[in-house]
Symmetry: C2
Subunit: 147 residues, 2 copies
DNA sequence: TTATGTGCAAAGAGTTTGCCAGCTA
DNA sequence: TAGCTGGCAAACTCTTTGCACATAA
């Protein structure tokens, strides 16, 4: 059966190969924000012959076709997620690298407004919050916080 | 005479060498957000024997001492600016790479609030607006826009 | 059939590091 | 002088690319 992303590829008229189908599958199944190496690790469980160069090429192809969004969370490698119509920003849990998506309408409006006030038209933007989980404070001494 | 950043180094008790003094000078004089190579180019006009490895090491030292802030504007290399107490965000003119600093109190409050609502304490954040200059629309044809 | 895609290894860009001479405190 | 620092080149990480072979349409 066609994966969600493979369907989008068909609609966009991309030539489909076994490798692209595999990578589309992996991406469709990924609920996180994997980097290229992680995609590659997942892909070779489905097709051990796939090469990391192909993952790089495919991920770029998909990004240029607006199927994927590329992110950079400051760790020196690109992360990918399926492009969606509903824009969102990211909060990165710096304790474990987990990425939480959020959307705030007021912030979105502010971004456009600020650019306009500076004499610019907003083309793209990036808001990332780096944060630690709030520890639950116990009224008496030890708050049970792990580490 | 001591450059502004060299003074901060002294206050922090960093061992000062000619190379570090030169780089501190270059940084103190830089009003933009230079990358390592640009700092290196500026440094070798003051001391032709300085090596780029030293620039990398010094910039990291200064960053760890909270003398510099490191940024990543998505072009694959780190950019630096003197750390300041007044936080600001950046708008990047994608036509020419120019970086404009701005501060918006409401946005700052929103960042903290959003993190809190998700159950996190904000540690750091990054907001970048990528934008093009608003072209002045002339009612009749040519609007005089350059390029 | 023919333009395109893939695998492999080499090349690139940015950054870090091992080693030893040189300098700071 | 004792230990930190700098220069140089090699190494590292992530990513791209040239080439010959394979494949989708």
């Amino acid at each position: 059966m066609q994966s969600r992303i493979e369907q989008i590829c068909s609609e966009k008229g991309l030539r489909m190969t076994d490798q692209r189908r595999t990578i589309a599958q992996v991406l469709s199944d990924s609920m996180d924000h994997p980097d290229v190496d992680l995609l590659y690790q997942r892909a070779i469980t489905l097709d051990p012959n796939i090469s990391i160069a192909t993952v790089y090429r495919t991920v770029r192809l998909f990004e240029e076709a607006n199927i994927l969004e590329k992110h950079d969370f400051g760790d020196g490698r690109a992360r990918y997620e399926e492009a969606s119509n509903n824009h969102h920003d990211h909060l990165i849990n710096i304790k474990n690298g987990e990425v939480i998506e959020f959307y705030n309408d007021e912030i979105e409006r502010m971004k456009i407004k600020i650019a306009k006030e500076l004499g610019y038209d907003l083309v793209d933007h990036r808001l990332e919050l780096y944060a630690t989980p709030t520890s639950v404070k116990e009224p008496s001494g030890d708050d049970g916080e792990i580490q």
